[in-house]
Symmetry: C2
């Protein structure tokens, strides 16, 4: 394939097969390059991912989400330490949902996690959406798969959790942790509607604050109303001191075991594959569905209804 200019700079002059081989050998620089290719929507991703496919062995993927200020980075960092202590190689994918409102926050998080920078059993990368095919909904599972192929047994996806995009990204995980902070009445209230839908484990972080027990009680009352088979356990942690992290790991293990029974793990992975393919197909459609100026002008002038215009657009593409 070769590739010239920036392309060659990204692959370091290596062919995509060579690059895949180096990832499979655990070369972190090669892995970082592959994630850059995914991030930039490089067409060579297709052949790299194909070459990596045989090495993908089903790493355990843990999602971690929560509002800004909930302490995601410190908890992630503490989890990295705990899983390293258990002999796992751990990769962290910090996903920036590419909202203009949240840009930059995750970069800061990355810096705070530099405590693991010298450990070759830890790999940390952030990923933003720069116009990949299918957006982050497609790029996240690709990044996870590349990390898996590089031999990381535990992959943590960290993302700022407030909107639908973040929920979609969290759905790429086997187990999802939702972080809340005591005394943030607003955020708890805002989280109520959706928290049970995505949380496999609920963490009340910064649990040295006064309102901790009230928050735990609120969450417990919410959970009591759920009819889901898996009731998310509530863990209290102090990310900065590591307090409660052992318990969090225990609850994650318990969830991982539960996933293995009754086929839930396979069902989730099937759903994940379906979401990824849909997102990629959507990316292709998005590129082709450009509204002609003339059609937009007719809609803006009220001459053509928007639904009629959409039908016209689709007919013109043969869909």
């Amino acid at each position: 394939m070769g590739g010239a200019g920036t392309g060659e700079a990204v692959t370091g002059g290596a062919s995509t097969d060579e690059l895949a081989e180096r990832v499979q050998a655990g070369d972190q620089r090669a892995l970082a390059r592959v994630i850059s290719l995914i991030e930039s929507g490089d067409p060579r991703v297709r052949s790299v991912m194909k070459a990596l496919a045989p090495s993908v062995s089903g790493a355990r993927v843990i999602g971690l989400t929560g509002a800004p200020g909930a302490g995601k980075s410190t908890v992630t960092s503490a989890l990295v330490k705990a899983f390293r202590g258990a002999g796992e190689r751990v990769a962290v994918l910090a996903v920036d949902p590419s909202s203009p409102f949240s840009g930059g926050a995750l970069l800061g998080d990355r810096v705070r996690m530099q405590g693991h920078a010298t450990d070759s059993g830890v790999f940390i990368r952030s990923m933003a959406s720069r116009g990949q095919l299918g957006g982050l909904a497609a790029a996240t599972p690709q990044g996870v798969r590349a990390m898996d192929a590089a031999g990381f047994g535990v992959i943590l996806i960290e993302t700022v959790g407030v909107g639908q995009a973040e929920v979609e990204i969290a759905s790429a995980a086997d187990s999802t942790i939702v972080l809340v902070v005591p005394g943030m009445g607003d955020s708890i209230q805002a989280a109520k509607a959706g928290v049970l839908e995505v949380a496999d484990v609920l963490v009340v972080n910064k649990a040295d604050r006064p309102d901790t027990q009230a928050t735990v009680r609120d969450l417990r009352n919410m959970i009591a109303l759920s009819s889901a088979e898996w009731k998310p356990p509530i863990v209290t942690t102090v990310g900065t001191s590591g307090e409660g992290i052992d318990d969090l790991v225990r609850q994650l293990d318990r969830h991982w075991e539960w996933l293995g029974t009754g086929g839930e793990r396979e069902r989730r992975r099937l759903g994940r594959a379906r979401d990824e393919v849909t997102a990629l197909a959507f990316g292709v459609v998005r590129e082709r569905l450009a509204v002609p100026d003339e059609l937009a002008a007719r809609v803006a002038a009220g001459e053509t209804g928007p639904l009629e215009a959409a039908a016209e657009l689709l007919a013109s593409t043969g869909f």
Copy 2:
């Protein structure tokens, strides 16, 4: 068209033409019904919107966004009062970006605005996404158009602003207000990257707090770096007392005038029509692009790459 069961309940037994006529006559109950139809993705929306089209006269649309707790409802309410004072009929569309994390917050906002409930020149509705074709990106402009057809000259779109979805919704407006609060270091930092992209007017609300001037200075420094033709003015307000609202209205008027010069208003409306048609076309595509179980299973097992699977899926639909 008629319609039976729930459908008839929603249209009140009226034909879509009758419903449209009542909206055009300014009947608020009919308008509420049309928005319910839009919200639920009812297929009759198409004929209702077609019948309403001749009455759409280009109302002034103002978007208002900001993080939870920024005081969006009080500022919206104060703006309603100010525009009413200027003799305008004002409609408010409180858009819930349908994130499971933010559900419920806007309902509370609605209640807080009941001060206008007895004024027939004010119409307030919230709208959530319940599976409309194209999601809220398509539903929002439809709701705006219905309000416009009902004779409201000023339409305020209020939405919780943190993610991409909210930015898309704000883009349905002629002028977008971004609300920040003094002393919320995190939120300012988080907002930095995107705030200049979407804000036509920046409001520092709760300006009776101590850090107000520091926040204004921060924002001013950000704006100084922008090369955009329109530099967003910064207004300080206290929504609860109405302080600064007159200045906000003046700045909105200034922006509205600026939009009229150089064709910017038309450019924005064209862009808006384009976005709406794209969102609707996407909704149709989404319904048709279902990944078959067998294909998802092959991807989950690593037998077929996701990009190959996406290509296969698209080929099977003839796209």
